[in-house]
Amino acid sequence: MAPVTISPAPPQAWRVEVFRRPTVDDPEGTHALAAAQALGLSSISDLRLGRGYLLPPEFDETQVLRTVRELLADPVLDVARITAPGEMPAREGAAFVLVARKPGVTDPVSQTLERALHTAGIAPVTEEDLLVTTFQAWEMQTRPAEEHLSQLSKRVLANVVIDAVSIDDETLYYGRPAEAEGHGVVDVPLLKLDEAALVQLSNDGLLSLDAAEMLTIQEHFADQGREPTSCELETLAQTWSEHCQHKTFRGLIEMDGEVIDNLLKSTIAKATYELDKPWCISVFHDNAGIVEFDHVDGETWDLSMKVETHNHPSAIDPYGGAGTGIGGVVRDILGVGMGAKPIANLDAFFVGPPDLAPDQVPRGSMHPSRILRGVVAGVRDYGNRMGIPTVAGGVWFHEGYTANPLVYAGTVGLMPRWAATKEVRPGDVIVTVGGRTGRDGIHGATFSSVELHEDSETQSAGAVQIGDPITEKKVLDGLLAARDARLFRGLTDCGAGGLSSAVGEMGAECGAEVDLDLVPLKYPGLSPEEIWISEAQERMVLSVPPEDLEACIKIFDAEGATATAIGHFTDTGRLVLRYGGVVHADINMNFLHEGNPRQTRKATWSAPDLPTPAVPVLDDPGATLLELLKRPTLANKEWIIRQFDHEVQGQRVIGPTSGVRNDGPSDGVVLHPVPGSKKGAAIGLGANARYGRLDPRAMAETCIDEALRNVVAAGGDPTHTSLLDNFSWGNCNKPDRLGSLVHAAKGCYASAMALGTPFISGKDSLNNEYRVGDETIAIPPTLLISALSIVPDVTKAVTMDLKKAGNILMLVGETKNQLGGSELHALLGMDGGEVPRPDLRTSPDLFACLHAAMQASLVRTCHDLSEGGLGVALAESAMAGDLGATIQLSYAKDLNRTSALFSESTTRFLVEVAPHQVAPFQEALGSHPVTQLGEVQAASRLQISDMNGDSLVDLSIDSIRDAFNGSFQG
């Protein structure tokens, strides 16, 4: 990239800084101050934010004053400081820091202001001719220590990957990014290179192609008698990336004398095809899976679902990474079939311990708390602004995620059946809609396929993507309108690899020609390669019949979203790219999509060599229960949940929390997406950070059991449930990582077959390792299972809060001595032991019987038993119902009371039943273990005794609530 044009300080532009009046709260200042203090920057004692704007120097004073009074400053709350072009501002305080987006980084606020200046008639030119930029001016009344000031700037106020920071210096950029040099065709001479030089070329260009792939490319172009152009090489690198092609899952694996040809097809997808459910409408070949929902008033409605990982971008820029993670998965749903309406988001975060000592944070990484706050804010600002409720989620904490956090984002969509299929015909116009293309996100697809290292932050700055949810909302509104008017034939989203992947994928069967100079740009001067592979957000690609082009563009224009024809699909089987009429790429589609060599990887796995620990004896199980409730993985996540709009669209049946005070953690959530339908959609998640290292297969089966428990506990039909898999693993070129992946995939197959729950979609992220010096650290193998289940009658949905004194509490399912990987072991610092694993011979029928009992209205309350076992489930249900309970454990002889309370054995539920319905309930559960535990009490105490009547736990509900609430806040 060419150097940036920098104007001399101070900028030749009107400068406006808007501060809160001294008597009015300044939330950003308060947040930043708290974050600084959390980092130990003790000499920072005050901070206030000025929202800064640079306005065109051509404005006269009247225009500036109108801008400030009508658009920038609130008459009740704000004071504004206006500085003329080239003047020094009347800066107050003892120190200040200016933070501005680096040139070329997306800035939605400046775009909004440019539009508003135009529509308000303040600036009589079009918004394209206006240049407004924004910045933040942070002022301090007390001058901090210099080192603290520098730390504050880099670690709290700015993200140096995307922001320019100046301390005590009024310099601000005012200008557009410089043009790239040379837009001509660039050949990359590689025909004469040896293997080592080819690998070097790949590494230097951040292509992430290995030796075999580079040799294949060399051979292909040698046959053509020419060198590849840089555009062609970039296109191949994007298309062949692990992120886009899933080479590990689709390759050959040798393990224990067995050769697995395509792990996906021989496990996860195999179950789906063997189960062959008639309600699976589209699986594995589109952007998301599609299943049938309901028939209402002559229309058949389907649900689609997709869950994505966005791990590496979130490690570098938690806020932007998580936000664009949501944005990306929402576009998957917009791009499934002919487009679905997003009706719910989910998110799952895996981060390091929130109380990690600052000196334990690896070099080049952020503290887990900062990462978590960042990803929460990113999901909040993107999901809320899109108007999609964030209904389900979870946070898991483990040391192994400190340097490589995991961020999963998922979306559920609703669509009419006729929109479930799409096509592309030669002659169709290629139309891009949505955001303009800039330099953001160059090399995201290939970056996500390599391990992180301490310099990732600086080296991969270009891979960071910045989201603009309102642009995506405009795309959503325009797209659904165009879909219903049937103005296009097919579409896909621009995700990893940008236009190169989207157009390449849509034209794979026929061919495509694109004129890159037609692509709308955020600013002039991008090179053809940059246009082609940029992962600028909020873009979709449509195939539009030529006769519908004008109407299609018009319908998007009405929503303020730009639709632009950039080429057309052909029948030549070739991908042709032109810029200024000159051909920059001409590749065989078949080679592009099928030409990469299949690799054979070796896999092996053996269980860690650990002695089986004795079941711990607890002096005071009640105190242990309180300690467990305080652990971050179990503690109240309200500070996160309440920042997400889980109510928008008005579909709530069961939300993320339940109960009298709405503070009980729900199992599954239930939505009512189609007015007029009796049915609901239940969503449940299963994941665990601790089981996988000990037993990856048991972990996979347990996560599926947990996801299913969550939806069944809420009222979902276990025989009408589909699953999604998201594997985040270490580097699977290493045999032990791959071996554990194979075990987990086999567990997925076995569980899906036994339960009759097909997988409908999945996505993997297989290079989650972090390099410091010579050491490489892999994350704990982590499988997130999402379950989507049909609730036959939403009025029969069940929540987890205890309902009424005098009702009977029952335990459904069998408890075993399974404390391996449990929260109790983690609390006590213990390792090893037996990991829970469901009995697939009995669990499917248990789920079915419990569901039948719910349909017969025999169940008042149901709560699944997961981390922390029975003890934690009882505490949560009692707290949520503001009621007490007296429990007598009648555990089997070989079961220790510690296990009875805290074992995490699978397929178990706490159930509340009215006294007169105990017998029918037991009958409904057939031969499955049902144990009467005790009674719901009006007095707010949880009292648990053992089979001899000796008290184990005697706690007030208030002390339980305090433990649950107290320890862990953002």
Partner: protein, 256 residues
């Protein structure tokens, strides 16, 4: 009796228009949903309606301040809006729609918008909040809602803290019957999160001096079905959510 016609307005970033339309329909109105841009191109159309609702969301991203850009857009159609109200029409703004009406200056018709003495701003908790709260209807110019009626609704906003330039302004509003809805709690003095955003006087909704321009932060349109409120599994015999009555009363008032 003719069916009351209602118009739900939206713009870029609006996201509550469908449930708002559903609520008005459940309340007895015939509803159209239209973008601000389309209305601006066809202003005479406004006279067809008796109820005009600014739906919630993040208009233009709330990028400059919540509701500010859309509120500024209303300056261009102010004459038509004033005529609509003068003719007996009702204007409702919910959540972002309330912020838009606030920014437009419609609650203080005697002042220029940039001279207003009322504002909505960042929650006292300093962040976005989505939670259920209890609302109560105050004695106000909006007599169609029964004084003293209490009902649960969700709030979902980051900038919902109502404030006045000073306490005297609040008392003037109260005296003029412009305080329409307040947050409710267990005791007379509310604590967080009963008052979820720190609003002055626990105010959740206000109206203009005529009572025909109303705004509120909470979302009654998200409580239409019996299974919407978070504690619904604890009750028996409810048929629908309390939000239906809120909209039905509004539609009935527009009829008369």
């Amino acid at each position: 009796m003719q069916t009351t016609q209602a118009l739900v307005l939206r713009t870029s970033g609006t996201n509550c228009e469908l449930e708002t339309a559903r609520a008005l329909e459940r309340g007895g109105a015939k509803v159209d949903v239209l973008s601000h841009r389309r209305l601006q191109d066809d202003l005479p159309r406004l006279t067809k309606y008796r109820v005009l609702v600014f739906a919630g969301g993040f208009s233009h991203g709330d990028d400059l301040a919540a509701g500010r850009v859309w509120g500024s857009d209303l300056r261009a159609i102010r004459r038509e809006l004033d005529a609509f109200v003068a003719d007996g029409g009702l204007i409702l703004g919910v959540c972002n729609g309330f912020q838009v009406l606030m920014e437009s200056g419609l609650f203080q018709p005697d002042r220029a918008p940039e001279e207003r003495t009322l504002a909505l701003y960042s929650n006292a908790s300093n962040h976005y909040e989505c939670r259920w709260v209890q609302l109560a209807v105050e004695r106000s110019k909006c007599s169609w809602w029964t004084e003293g009626w209490k009902f649960p609704v969700p709030v979902a906003h980051a900038e919902g803290r109502f404030t006045c330039k000073d306490e005297a302004t609040l008392e003037e509003l109260r005296a003029a019957g412009q305080i329409v809805l307040t947050y409710q709690g267990a005791n007379e003095t509310l604590s967080y999160p009963e008052n979820p955003n720190g609003s002055m006087g626990d105010v959740a909704g206000i109206c203009d001096p005529s009572g025909r321009v109303v705004g509120l932060m909470p979302h009654p349109e998200r409580n239409l079905d019996l299974f919407n409120r978070p504690d619904w599994t604890r009750f028996e015999g409810r048929q629908e959510g309390e939000g239906v009555r809120f909209y039905a009363d509004l539609v009935a008032a527009a009829q008369g």
